[in-house]
């Protein structure tokens, strides 16, 4: 059962196609993210779901009913705007009651509902505060409460954490996920920040230039990307350009531009010998020391980037490439300038056809 489904949705602005044949389904009660660089059409897609733009082709279904002919105020999807769009001339209680009053709820019940939803977002008793008196994180929660009090089929969130500082953003990530569990409502979350998408979502769609490149659980996107774009956009990765020398059983030997060659698994696509490719290797797939199967590189430690469990060693290979290597223990005892060998298993490197660009 899908709470929200889009079928081949297309939206053009003049000659420019902002959303180009997007199809997906969001299962009831799940947290679905759309991840893509800025300008790829995420907001446009969300505005079509909310009813502020009309798709040029395709269909949008809520609880399996097409909503294309419903006005925005008749659709049971609520939206948390990028800059929240709380009403500054109303206090917190009135902001939350606005939707209930529009719906025609009995006056008597409204106060009780407002109180209950404020309790659930962890801000009891702030009804009489002005919006300007709230902190960034509190405003966020009020914006969510204002939508959730209406019990929507789907809650849309458009980069709601973008305006917060880093610390608060990390905190709100976890909190949003908890709120979603607590309300058991379907969330459709838009972001350009891959870590937000990976941490919170049940499913992520990676969007690029108006199209969905891949839809799947975070782990699948991370481990089995279907395109160079997904491999490069989701998670940290090393990326080099090269050309396939030899291709045996889906494993290619790639001659890198600028010298050196490595082994890599070909992504699920029609690569042939001599194809121009990009090779992707995750920092944690790179091991220190000599390996027994071909993909060993020698070089020197260029710099040590300490970041707790996320520490990295930057290795400059003999051919001059920089390789990011995960240094999980942070205590390998290397110093800058030391000679170092690195290797990886051919299965952990992926190559994809290079874009024409």
């Amino acid at each position: 059962m899908y709470d929200l489904r889009c079928e081949s949705v297309i939206k053009r602005f003049g000659n420019f196609t902002a959303v180009n044949g997007v199809s997906f389904g969001v299962p009831a009660g799940s947290f679905f993210s759309i991840l893509g660089p800025s300008g790829c059409g995420k907001t446009t897609l969300m505005r079509m779901i909310a009813g502020f733009e009309h798709p040029d082709a395709g269909d949008i279904l809520l609880k399996e009913n097409s909503v294309l002919n419903l006005a925005p105020n008749k659709r049971n999807v609520k939206m948390v705007f990028q800059h929240l769009a709380l009403f500054p001339m109303m206090n917190v209680g009135e902001n939350i009651a606005y939707g209930l009053r529009c719906r025609g709820d009995a006056k008597a019940g409204i106060g009780e509902k407002v109180r209950a939803v404020l309790d659930r977002v962890g801000l009891p008793g702030v009804e009489d505060k002005q919006i300007s008196q709230l902190s960034g994180g509190q405003k966020q929660r009020i914006a969510i409460a204002r939508c959730m009090v209406l019990e929507p089929d789907v809650l849309l969130l458009d980069e709601p954490l973008g305006a917060l500082d880093l610390k608060l953003r990390e905190h709100m990530k976890i909190e949003l996920k908890q709120l979603q569990h607590q309300f058991e409502t379907t969330f459709l979350y838009i972001t350009h920040d891959q870590s937000e998408a990976l941490v919170m979502s049940d499913n992520v769609a990676v969007m690029n230039a108006g199209r969905f490149e891949q839809i799947g659980p975070p782990r699948e996107l991370y481990d089995n990307p279907v395109s160079g774009f997904v491999a490069g956009f989701v998670g940290d990765t090393n990326r080099w350009e090269g050309r396939i020398d030899r291709l045996v059983d889906g494993t290619a030997r790639v001659a890198l531009n600028g010298g050196g060659s490595v082994l890599a698994k070909t992504g699920a696509n029609s690569l042939r010998e001599a194809s121009a490719v990009e090779v992707f290797v995750r920092p944690e797939a790179v091991a220190i020391g000599r390996g027994n199967d071909g993909a060993t590189l020698s070089g020197r430690v260029d710099s040590l980037l300490f970041n707790g469990a996320n520490s990295r060693i930057l290795v400059r290979t003999e051919t001059g490439k920089l390789v990011e290597v995960a240094d999980t223990s942070g205590a390998t005892g290397f110093n800058e300038g030391d000679p170092i060998d690195i290797h990886w298993h051919a299965d952990r490197a992926l190559c994809f056809a290079r874009d024409a660009a």
């Binding site: 502020f52 769009a85 529009c102």
Partner: protein
């Protein structure tokens, strides 16, 4: 020492402004106030007292004119709001960014022509032998010439035309600051067009709306040329009474009294208006 120099520079900075306020606004008002309190007891002999004010109250035609002026000014303000709001909304929210400056300029064009010339423009259009009357005859809508001047409706139309700009400008500048996302949030949460207008747009525009209303009301109540030229003898506008006292009758005491009363009465109307709409000067005009 530092704060002393700070104070000194503040005083120097404020001095021209203070002088301007004192010399051009405060002193003349005090002068008028003083003159209005002089009673003429004999040729060249004066006493201080309220005789001029009691004379005003004793003559219904005076205070009826004042009431009529206030009431017509309120009507003009209301009409200017009704006409100006959609225009301001269009300029601020619907027109494309590039068209905005042009539209705004179009609104300002009438200001480039003096009040007097504009009023004569209306006269050219509306008099018995004017363009409107002769076109209507030519089209056969009416058989003889009609006089469209010298009635209240014409005066009101002329006044709305003169002041509507001062309603539009503050409204545009407040509406301009309104984020479109706020309107969309209003619809998204289930609001109809009317709800969004009443509960989001109007409250948001309130500062500009109140400022515009105060300016248009004061300008209308204090206007002279438009009501006199378009309304003629029947206009019974209070400024005409003031003019008559000062110039025709050479009764400066009565003229000054009327001036003070006009200021006091229009201020009172503004104050009542603010109270009735639950606004205050601090939350509207002085905001931002």
């Amino acid at each position: 020492m530092r704060s002393d120099t700070g104070k000194l520079s503040l005083i120097l900075l404020m001095a021209p402004f203070a002088l301007w306020i004192v010399l051009l606004i405060a002193l003349p008002q005090f002068g008028i106030g003083y003159v209005s309190l002089r009673e003429k007891v004999g040729p060249g002999e004066y006493e201080l007292g309220f005789a001029n004010y009691t004379a005003f109250l004793g003559e219904p035609i005076y205070w009826n004119t004042l009431l009529r002026t206030a009431w017509m000014s309120i009507l003009v303000t209301f009409l200017a709001l009704v006409v100006g709001f959609p225009v301001a909304y269009y300029i601020a929210k619907i027109a494309r960014k590039r068209a905005r400056a042009g539209l705004f300029l179009l609104c300002l064009i009438p200001l480039w022509v003096s009040d007097l010339v504009r009023a004569f423009g209306w006269i050219v259009l509306l008099r018995e032998t004017g363009i409107v009357s002769s076109s209507l005859q030519w089209m056969g809508v009416i058989s003889g010439p009609v006089e469209l001047l010298y009635n209240d409706i014409t005066v009101i139309i002329g006044l709305v035309y003169t002041v509507v700009l001062f309603m539009i400008v503050p409204l545009v500048s407040t509406l301009d600051g309104m984020d479109d996302a706020m309107l969309e949030a209003g619809y998204n949460l289930g609001g109809s067009r009317f709800t969004v207008f009443r509960r989001i747009i109007v409250p948001y525009a309130m500062p500009g709306l109140v400022a515009g209303c105060i300016i248009t009301f004061m300008l209308t109540a204090g206007s002279y040329l438009t009501p006199i030229l378009l309304g003629g003898k029947n206009s019974s506008w209070f400024t005409e009474q003031i003019y008559n006292q000062f110039i025709t009758r050479y009764n400066w005491e009565a003229g000054a009294t009327f001036g003070v009363l006009l200021l006091a009465f229009t201020s009172l109307v503004v104050w009542v208006g603010l109270r009735l709409t639950g606004q205050s000067l601090a939350t509207t005009v002085a905001k931002e």
